[in-house]
């Protein structure tokens, strides 16, 4: 279990992180979202003891993280770094050895990991000869191959295509099922929403949202409707309580004043019987992200 309590860090006059608190249990995934410079990387560095906090505590299994815990950590930094002249195998074996895993164990496991992430290249290929995407995958393998219990991934999905992003998602889920505590940051809200048990949104170092994805979305009420019905755009715009109407192909996406407007809208849309689509939901995380950013500017 990772417990972060009242973590604060300032860089001169600049706010790094302000009074940040959260807990990640075994088998839990926490998604950290926020704009660039919101304090995500600073949070990770403080968890890893790479940066001393001004105040607050980080506890791993109820004690401060020391070098004895390094072997249980898997860390993917935001700025990727590999020894470009080393072979894939040498590179992964070295990083795993630094986490206390014997070279023989790593060598045995590596081919499976290579297959799993569909890395294009031989074990003896130099890192510099790989494409950027494949380098990224090698770095991910190096982060996960020693079966860490505390996994910290800074923007793991950046640079991956949807197929590879899915492979990574699957691996993260598997690590979670093995009991790891996982924290990751991402700009892709779809990924965050799919795999996170818990969400934390930072803005200029302050925690603006915290909770499960459903909790967070429901805070904003069921105010989004997607509709395909005989009602045309003019009728929808004129409908009382509808704030915004956007046409998406055959369908309309509406923003409502409040959840109750949906009931009236459903009645009106179905007055002549069957309609192919009516769905009322809270705003998407993507939208919430933009709302929160806009609210504080």
């Amino acid at each position: 279990m990772l417990t972060v309590a009242n973590l604060t860090k300032r860089f001169g006059p600049k706010q790094g992180v302000e009074d940040e608190s959260f807990t990640i249990h075994e088998g839990e995934i926490m998604g950290l979202i926020g704009q660039n410079g919101a304090g995500k990387t600073t949070t990770f560095r403080m968890i890893l003891n790479l940066l001393p906090p001004d105040s607050g505590t980080v506890l791993w299994q109820d004690h401060p993280l020391t070098k004895d815990d390094y072997n249980t950590v898997g860390f993917l930094p935001e700025e990727r770094g590999l020894y470009t002249r080393m072979s894939i195998q040498d590179q992964v074996v070295y990083f795993a050895a630094l986490r206390g895993q014997k070279p023989a164990v790593t060598r045995k496991a590596l081919p499976q990991w290579m297959a799993r992430f569909n890395v294009k290249g031989k074990l003896t290929d130099k890192i510099k000869d790989l494409s950027k995407g494949n380098q990224q995958k090698v770095q991910l393998i190096a982060t996960l191959i020693h079966q860490p219990k505390l996994i910290i991934l800074d923007e793991p999905f950046s640079g991956l295509d949807p197929v590879n992003a899915q492979l990574l998602e699957d691996s993260i889920i598997e690590m979670k099922q093995n009991g790891a505590s996982i924290i990751f940051s991402s700009h892709d809200m779809a990924n965050v929403e799919r795999i996170s048990d818990h969400l934390l949104m930072l803005r200029n170092g302050e925690t603006v949202l915290s909770g499960t994805p459903d909790e967070i979305r429901s805070q904003f009420g069921n105010t989004r409707v997607r509709l395909r019905s005989p009602l045309d755009k003019a009728a929808l715009v004129a409908f009382p309580g509808v704030n915004d109407v956007q046409q998406r192909g055959n369908a309309y996406e509406l923003t409502l004043d409040n959840e109750a407007v949906g009931h009236d809208l459903f009645k009106a849309a179905t007055s002549k019987g069957y309609i192919p689509e009516f769905s009322q939901e809270p705003p998407s995380l993507d939208e919430i992200f933009r709302i929160e950013v806009a609210n504080h500017e």
Binding site: L48, V73, F75, P77, L82, D90, L98, G100
Partner: protein
């Protein structure tokens, strides 16, 4: 395997696998091989000349033909007259011929050679001729062989070098000093080469890890202190390996070329004092390590790899100045040189030379080595602290200023 060993092994493996490092490692071997090849080719193309000897004095001619040639020439015995010899020369059958004319007491010889033939090293031939002439003259004067030997025995001549230490004469045999100086020069040069090479290697490595953010992974796996010592130890192992390979190449080369290279002609390893050897080894390790440790520190202070050479330049300049000063130390024992030979970062170049020329006693040398050892411990401590503080610092602040501020804090 503990993490210190993991880092150490990694430093060794990574460099051993790098072609640039391997080249530098086996460079002395290549040099020796190149010289051997050159000597081989030279020997092949410059063959022993075949000559003829003619004379109006048959006894002298026969005696000259029978004289030892030391491999300098070969005599074609069948050619006995000048006419035949000239003809054979024109047909390029022989490289030249010697015509000796004896008139009474006078012996005169003319050697005619083809300009396109194999040239003759005429010393042996001349000596042989002179010996024969002397023997002939001695016989005519009625001298015995023993008297002759007495007559021509050379006077004995020997050089003794002395140095005064606190009014007391210390003696070294001349050839011993020469051998020591040669070794001191070679080792001082090698120390300088190693300093230039290893400071750049470790600083580049550290800066690359920092610049490419590999450092974040390293520091979250291994404490910076373990990492620092692992790296430095890895470098030490590489230095020792290179010293061994260079040493072996040097030994083989010197044994092999002892006769071929003139300045090594009277050089022998037995002349080097054992004290000299231990002094040089001590300076090799301490001197190079001192620079390597500081280079690791400087490498951790820059933000990008491109800044490495700039950050290293003050350090390499000191190394170069010390090396240049070692040439002055051969002929000068000025106060500056004397002080310099005790100052860490300079002593590795100055003291071996001062000791080799007899300007410093062994006790002085070990005092200087002790100072260097203490400096190495202190510098390692400082470098380790700085490394720890800077490996994750990507700001562009003035590092020396910052360093000073942190020291005061």
């Amino acid at each position: 395997m503990n993490k210190f060993m993991v880092v150490t092994r990694q430093v060794i493996r990574k460099n051993i696998k790098s072609p640039a490092y391997l080249f530098s490692l086996f460079f002395p071997v290549l040099i020796i091989a190149a010289i051997a090849l050159f000597a081989f080719i030279t020997n092949k193309t410059n063959q022993t000349p075949t000559i003829a000897i003619t004379s109006n004095n048959v006894a002298l001619r026969n005696a000259l033909i029978e004289s030892p040639t030391h491999g300098d020439y070969r005599v074609s015995k069948a050619i006995s007259t000048e006419q035949v010899a000239e003809k054979r020369l024109s047909h390029e059958k022989i490289d030249g011929y010697l015509n000796v004319t004896v008139t009474g007491q006078t012996v005169s010889a003319v050697y005619r050679q083809r300009t396109n033939g194999n040239s003759l090293d005429s010393d042996t031939l001349k000596n042989n001729l002179n010996t024969l002439k002397l023997r002939q003259a001695a016989q005519q004067l009625g001298l015995t062989a023993k008297q002759l030997q007495q007559l021509f025995a050379p006077a004995s001549y020997k050089t003794q070098n002395v140095a005064y230490q606190n009014g007391v004469v210390r003696r070294q045999r001349s050839n011993q000093q020469g051998a020591n100086l040669v070794v001191a020069f070679v080792v001082t040069f090698l120390i300088y080469m190693f300093i230039a090479m290893y400071t750049s290697m470790i600083a580049q490595e550290t800066a690359t890890e920092k610049g490419s953010h590999i450092m974040e992974i390293l520091v979250s796996s291994v404490s910076p202190v373990t990492q620092f010592f692992g790296k430095v130890t890895g470098m030490l192992a590489l230095i020792v390996l290179q010293v061994i390979i260079t040493g072996i190449a040097g030994l083989i080369g010197m044994q092999y070329f002892n006769h071929n290279i003139s300045f090594l002609g009277d050089f022998s390893f037995s002349q080097i004092q054992p004290g000299m050897v231990s002094v040089l080894v001590a300076y090799f390790v301490l001197g190079v390590m001192l620079y390597t440790v500081i280079a690791a520190m400087l490498g951790s202070m820059v933000t990008r790899q491109e800044e490495v050479s700039q950050a290293l330049s003050p350090l390499t300049t000191v190394g170069m100045l010390a090396y240049v000063a070692s040439f002055i130390a051969v002929n000068s024992n000025s106060l500056l040189i004397r002080i310099g030979s005790y100052v860490p970062f300079l002593s590795q170049s100055l003291m071996p030379v001062r000791y080799a020329v007899g300007n410093a006693a062994l006790s002085e040398v070990w005092a200087s080595v002790a100072i260097a050892a203490i400096a190495l411990v202190l510098m390692t401590w400082v470098a380790c602290r700085v490394y720890q503080q800077h490996v994750l610092d990507y700001s562009n602040r003035k590092h020396w200023y910052q360093f000073g501020r942190k020291r005061r804090a």
